[in-house]
Point group: D2
Chain length 258, copies 4
């Protein structure tokens, strides 16, 4: 059986130092656990709930920071793109290019990302049935790129709430043949639930992460922050960096049984 993969980092690049520190912490932690690790941070949060929310350093400065961290630490980097015009630049730096959940049905963006030849991480839309990811994967394959991950991040359940259907992990693995990553921190968001931003239930992220590994997930995606309550984005659902070690050990142990 393949080892559990970790995709982790802060929601958004706040500055070089913070980004580097988190990446270094995660690299060390996962090396000790012998766990494959990909660093994740966004340079632009292009779909924030409110017009006044912090969006990040933007594509140019953001990619520079990610490139510097990558070279310094020799780690793999994942980030997300939102415009056709960003994709080429992003592919110079990133190892895995992520298509955001809201954009997972935008055919041209999928094509542009797939054509880079980089690994593509499709975030499954909150509005999509598990079996409907097969049509998206086919779009990636149609341009000759076979390196695809699917990330589950919950499904709309009434208003301002998400639910994770753990049958979906198996369904997506079986219908697409792709590894399925479980995004435990976005799955506990309460979309729009705080008025001007999305709320979150950080306390449930470890529980759902454990459930996902037991249900057969190939990897977990966890947003972290040194001090989540002070985070500029997605604080309510981010995990404290210091709490990550014990959780990862446990997830690794669970994976060994499945």
């Amino acid at each position: 059986a393949s080892p559990l993969v970790l995709i982790s980092g802060p929601c958004v690049i706040e500055d070089y130092k913070t980004t580097y520190d988190i990446a270094l912490y995660l690299k060390t932690l996962t090396q000790d656990l012998d766990m494959p690790f990909i660093f994740k941070a966004s340079y632009d949060k292009a779909n924030r709930t409110s017009v006044n929310a912090f969006r990040g350093p933007g594509v140019k400065q953001g990619l520079e920071i990610l490139d510097a961290v990558k070279k310094e630490l020799k780690i793999m980097i994942l980030s997300d793109v939102h415009q056709l015009s960003e994709v080429e630049q992003a592919s110079q730096v990133l190892d895995i290019i992520q298509v955001p959940a809201f954009l997972c049905r935008q055919t041209d963006l999928i094509f542009e990302v797939a054509k880079t030849g980089k690994t593509v991480n499709i975030k499954k839309g909150q509005f999509l049935a598990p079996w409907d990811t097969a049509n998206i994967i086919e779009k990636v394959l149609s341009v000759g790129n076979e390196r695809v991950l699917i990330t589950e991040r919950g499904t709309m359940f009434g208003y301002n709430n998400l639910v994770v259907d753990f049958r979906g992990i198996k369904i997506m693995q079986d219908t697409t043949g792709c590894p399925v990553i479980f995004d435990a921190t976005h799955s506990v968001q309460l979309p729009g639930g705080s008025g001007k931003s999305s709320g979150g239930q950080r306390e449930f992220a470890p529980i759902l992460a454990r459930a996902s590994v037991a249900a057969g997930a190939d990897g977990v995606f966890l947003e972290v922050h040194k001090d989540p309550d002070a985070a500029l984005c997605d604080g309510p659902n981010s995990l404290r960096l210091d709490d990550l070690g014990p959780l990862l050990s446990q997830l690794k142990e669970l994976k060994s049984i499945i």
Copy 2:
């Protein structure tokens, strides 16, 4: 009370002749009914379920066709944009620029569209609570554009199904002050429900259209086709052009009571 507005046309521009014929038919029909009318057709279906689906003539040729129809018939035109790069071109031709439901949270696209000064039609995402449209409207207002419509097109209800919450029309009118249009034909889609394309339940569109007017909608949005079963896009949920007249008369009568 203001009169009921109709936004109608084929899902996608198939060619000039078909587009012109439908527009002429609708213009004549709505003139007879004294009903304000805006013609709608898309030049690019950028988020089709499958990679092999027909997408339309593209932005350049599509806008040329719309421009010709507009000048010939002297009617208002609405179409949707999917990329920042399309917006300026589209604003040369369109009277109302529509932001697709899947893209209603893309802040930059909202800004770009709003800055044209044209009327903006925000399609409410299938994943959004009615009250959460207020944050989107605020993005439009923040660049000084106060001409905004919201279009309801159903909310995810389990997998491959939508439900219309008619409380939402009032909620959106009250929280944003914007007119609310009800898209009866997309609301009866079964997203992804036909495997390689979305299914639809055309037979329920008139029922929901009637319910929406009784519930206080300011306008209705109805996709039509001369022969829906032969349509290149959204046939399963499009109405037959010949069935439109009696429905519109009835909707107008309902509106007069509310």
Copy 3:
């Protein structure tokens, strides 16, 4: 086309005087409108959210009050049963026996009610698809009773919320051949949403009632109270008695167009 039917009354029998006064008010109002009317009140709220909630006068005293009101005003009476042992007694007084939504799958209760030969009103469970009512109707028919109504009262939508799927009215009419009543006041409940009781959104009941008639409902079910904020049950979703007249006139006018 058959006229719109009204089923209305207080949620629970509070005492004889209150019950009589409301019934008289409704009888007079519907006579003026020439609208068929059935009086509804419950003698036992057997499934209140909390153990401490008011439940009503009970089966014996409740049926006595309903019988007195019936004889005094010469009106038809509907109430609901919850135990096999109540059914025979209830059938002595009631014209229509209602099976509560939570109990709509209890085969023995359906049989017992159906065997009385009285008209049966099946409240569609909040957990049921419209097409699944056909199996329930078949249970009624199987004992030789063909007088059945189905009442729509909303479907679970996430937690502590209901949504009305107006496609369901047509679906149930077509699959069962039964008249479909729309319960506008229970459809705006927020189940369990107030902690110790269900909340409600009274302001949306007239909107949904209008939508239901436009969508083809055969009748509406509206709980009313002289002073809903002081009601002992379902106050948050009950309508003020004084507001009923204008609403009913409008519903009647809408029905005439459909």
Copy 4:
């Protein structure tokens, strides 16, 4: 940490021999695993989808069979009640009395069951939020019975489908203090999904069972049959008896890590 509890047996009592054989198999299996075990079988399926479905031997003969099995094998027995009149009889034989999901809001039934002093297993309604179980538990406690279990069996998700919200296990444990059992086989039902009966997705039951243990469930509830495809009730979601051993070993191992 307390050991994982197993509640298991056939959906319905088909006859003495079948019931005894399954109980013996399960007793032996769980003794080998040192896993606390409660045998479950229903004597009456009072809420079958269709009027023609098999319902079981009924309360008298069913309880006799359960009593004989109990005395022969010296095991604990759980079954469900549907009428007030059954409760006293059932309490003579059963160790745990279960309140069915559809009936979890029937106050009198809860009282009657709670008053027996037996352990009460409340099946959480498919229409209930996790936090709303607290009001039900309070009804049990109000008559002086503190021995209560809650069983999660999925929540309505659109039509003819259920989803399990694994946040709910923790929410119910925290708000009620009761052990929470996860019913993996009813959670994979497709209610009404086969027209005249509920469908099921047996293949997902082990996956969800594993997820539930990882998410902190105190026990699992698994319906089994020697030959599920020939079962008279709930075959589509029952597990094959022969597949149970390896699953239980794995669940026990998962529990030891949590």
